[in-house]
C-alpha cells in the first residue's frame, strides 16, 4: 500500500469528516445549551439541501444557494422553536417526539414536492474537477468542504472564546439556571442558538448536495453519523465535534479498506467503546 494511497485516504477521511462537522456542530451546540436532542436536525439538512438545489437551478449561483439553504433551514428552525419547542421546554422525551414529528412532516413534504429521485446540485466550475498536487490529484470540491468546515470551526471558536455572545453561550452550557439569574434573557439566547444551529444544518445540506444526493431517507442516514460524532466528541462541545468528525471520518475511510467485513458497523463499535470507557465523550464536560 503506497504512501500516496494512504495520503489520499487520509484526505478522504478528512473531507467526509468536514461534512460531518458542519452537521454535528449545529447539533451539539443546540444540545449543549438547550438539552434538546433535535432529531429534526437531519430534516433541516435535507430541507437546506433541496433549497440549495433549487437555487442553483434558478440562479446558477452556488454562493446564493449556500445562503438560501441556511436561511430556509433557519426559518424552519425559528418557527419550530418559537411555536412548538418553547411550549414543552424541559420535557426531554416529549421534545424528542416533537422533533421526530417535525422530521416526518419535512421529510414527507420534501417527497411530495421534490419526488423520490435522488438529486444533487451542479458544483460551480471553480470547484469541479481535481486539483493536482506533486504526486496525486484531489477533487477541488472535497478540498472546498475541508476549507468550509475549517472556516466555520474557526469562526465558532473565536465567537465562543472572544465575544460576549460566546461567553453567554458557554455560561448557558455550564449552568442554565444561573445564566438566567444573571439577567440574561434565556428565551432569546435559546431562540438565537436554535436559529444558528438550524442554519448550520441547512448550510451542511447545500454543501453536501454538491457531493452527495438529497433523497428520502438521506436525513436519517447522515443524522446517524452526526449522532455518532457528537457522542464520541462529547455532547455540547464544539471542539469535541471537530475531533469526533475527524476521527469518525478517518475510521470510516480506513475501516472500509482494511476491515470491509465490518463496514456496516465500523463507526458504531468505536462509539460504544468510547461510551463505555468515557461516558461523557472525549471532550464532554465533567460535572
Amino acid at each position: 500500500m503506497s504512501a500516496n494511497f494512504i495520503l489520499v485516504q487520509v484526505m478522504n477521511g478528512l473531507s467526509f469528516g468536514a461534512l460531518l462537522f458542519l452537521l454535528a456542530s449545529g447539533f451539539t451546540l443546540v444540545f449543549g445549551l438547550m438539552r434538546i436532542v433535535n432529531l429534526a436536525h437531519g430534516a433541516l439538512y435535507l430541507a437546506g439541501g433541496y433549497v440549495g438545489i433549487v437555487t442553483v437551478a434558478a440562479t446558477g449561483s452556488f454562493f446564493l444557494a449556500l445562503l438560501a439553504g441556511a436561511v430556509a433551514a433557519a426559518g424552519i428552525g425559528v418557527i419550530t422553536e418559537r411555536f412548538l419547542l418553547r411550549r414543552v421546554r424541559g420535557n426531554e422525551l416529549p421534545e424528542v417526539l416533537l422533533t421526530v414529528g417535525i422530521a416526518f412532516v419535512i421529510g414527507d413534504l420534501a417527497l411530495a414536492i421534490f419526488g423520490g429521485n435522488p438529486q444533487s446540485l451542479q458544483a460551480p466550475e471553480l470547484l469541479s474537477g481535481a486539483l493536482s498536487f506533486a504526486s496525486f490529484g484531489y477533487p477541488r470540491y472535497r478540498l472546498f468542504m475541508i476549507v468550509l468546515a475549517l472556516a466555520i470551526g474557526l469562526g465558532l471558536y473565536v465567537v465562543q472564546r472572544k465575544t460576549r455572545i460566546g461567553a453567554i453561550m458557554r455560561a448557558g452550557v455550564d449552568d442554565r439556571e444561573m445564566t438566567g439569574m444573571m439577567g440574561i434573557n434565556v428565551d432569546r439566547v435559546f431562540a438565537g442558538m436554535f436559529l444558528f444551529g438550524s442554519a448550520l444544518a441547512g448550510l451542511a445540506g447545500v454543501a453536501a448536495a454538491g457531493q452527495l444526493t438529497m433523497r428520502p431517507g438521506a436525513d436519517t442516514d447522515i443524522l446517524l453519523f452526526a449522532l455518532v460524532v457528537v457522542i464520541v466528541g462529547g455532547l455540547g462541545s464544539v471542539e469535541g465535534a471537530a475531533v469526533g468528525s475527524i476521527l469518525i471520518g478517518l475510521i470510516d475511510s480506513f475501516a472500509r479498506v482494511w476491515i470491509p467485513e465490518l463496514s456496516y458497523f465500523a463507526v458504531f463499535a468505536p462509539m460504544a467503546l468510547v461510551l463505555v470507557l468515557r461516558p461523557q465523550g472525549l471532550f464532554g464536560m465533567p460535572e
Partner: protein
Amino acid sequence: MSRLTALVLSAAGLGAVYAAPYVLPSFVISLITLVFISGLVAMSINLLAGEAGLVSIGHAGIAAAASYGIAWATLNGMGVGSRVLLALGLALVVSAVFGLTTMYTRGIVYLMISLALGMVAYGLALRLSGLTGGQNGLTGIVRPDFVDLWWQFYFFTAAIFVLALLAIWVMRRSPFGLTLRAVRDSETRAASLGYSVAATKFIATMLSGLLAGIAGVLAVWNSEFISPAAASFARSAMAVVMVILGGTGTLFGPLAGAAVVVGAEHWLSSYVERWPTLLGLAFIAVVIFMPKGLIGQLPRRLRPETDRPQKPAESIEPEATTHTSA
C-alpha cells in the same frame, strides 16, 4: 377511578378482546394482533424508560434476535419448545450484552449505547447471511400448529399481552419495581440505602429484553418471514415513539402508542397518500396538547389507578457525566 369501575372496565376490555374475532373481519383482527405485538415491544421499552429512566433505541435488535432464533430453529426442524427456548435464550444473550455495557450509565449515554448496539445487531443480521438470509430475509417460518389459524394466533397473542401487562403491573408493585424507581429518582440515594444500582439496571434490562424477545417470537409468527428490517434503527425508534406517544411510564400507554403508529403505517396508508405527514402532525399535536402522552394525559377519573405517569423525563439529561472517576 374506584376499584369497582376499574374492574368493570377491565372486564369490558377483556370481553371486547374476546369478542373481536366474532364480529370483525380477519384483516382487522390481524391488524389488532400486530398492535398487540408492537405494543409488547413498546412495553418492554417502557419498562426501562418509565420505571428505570433508561430509554433504549436498540430494542428492535433484541426482538429481532428472538425472531432470527425462531426462524433458524424452525428451518432446522427443531420442536416448538426448543424453538422458543432458543429464541428467548438468544434474546437474553443480546440483552445481557446491552445490560453489561450499559449498567453503569444512564440518560443520553444509555440511549446512545443502545443505539450503537442496535445498529450492530442490524449489521450482523445483514452480514451473517449464511444464518440470516441477509437482506432477502428468511421465508417459510411457519407458526406452530396450535396457533395456525388467524384467530387462534390472535387469541394467543392477546393472552400473552394480557399476561405481560399483569406481570408488569405486579413488577411495579414488587420490591424490585420500587428499587428500580428509587434508582431512577436518585442513584445516589438508592446506593446509599444499600441497593446495587448496576445490578438493578442489569436485571431490568434483562426483564425488558425477555419481553422484547417474546414480542420478537410473536412478530415472526405473525409474518412468517424475517429480514434485517426488523432490527433497523427505524423500527427501534418507532417503538420509542410509541412509548412517548402513549405516555412514558403508563401501563396502557405503549398499547395506545402502538395503535396510533401501526394504524397509520398499516391502515391509514391505504387511504391517504401523505400519511407520514399526518403521523408527524399527530406526534406534534400530542406533544403540544397532551405532553404526558395519550394515556398519561387522560383526566384522572378516567385513568386506571395504576396509570399515573411516573416522572420519566429526567432520562435524557447527560447526568452520566457524574460517572467520571473521582
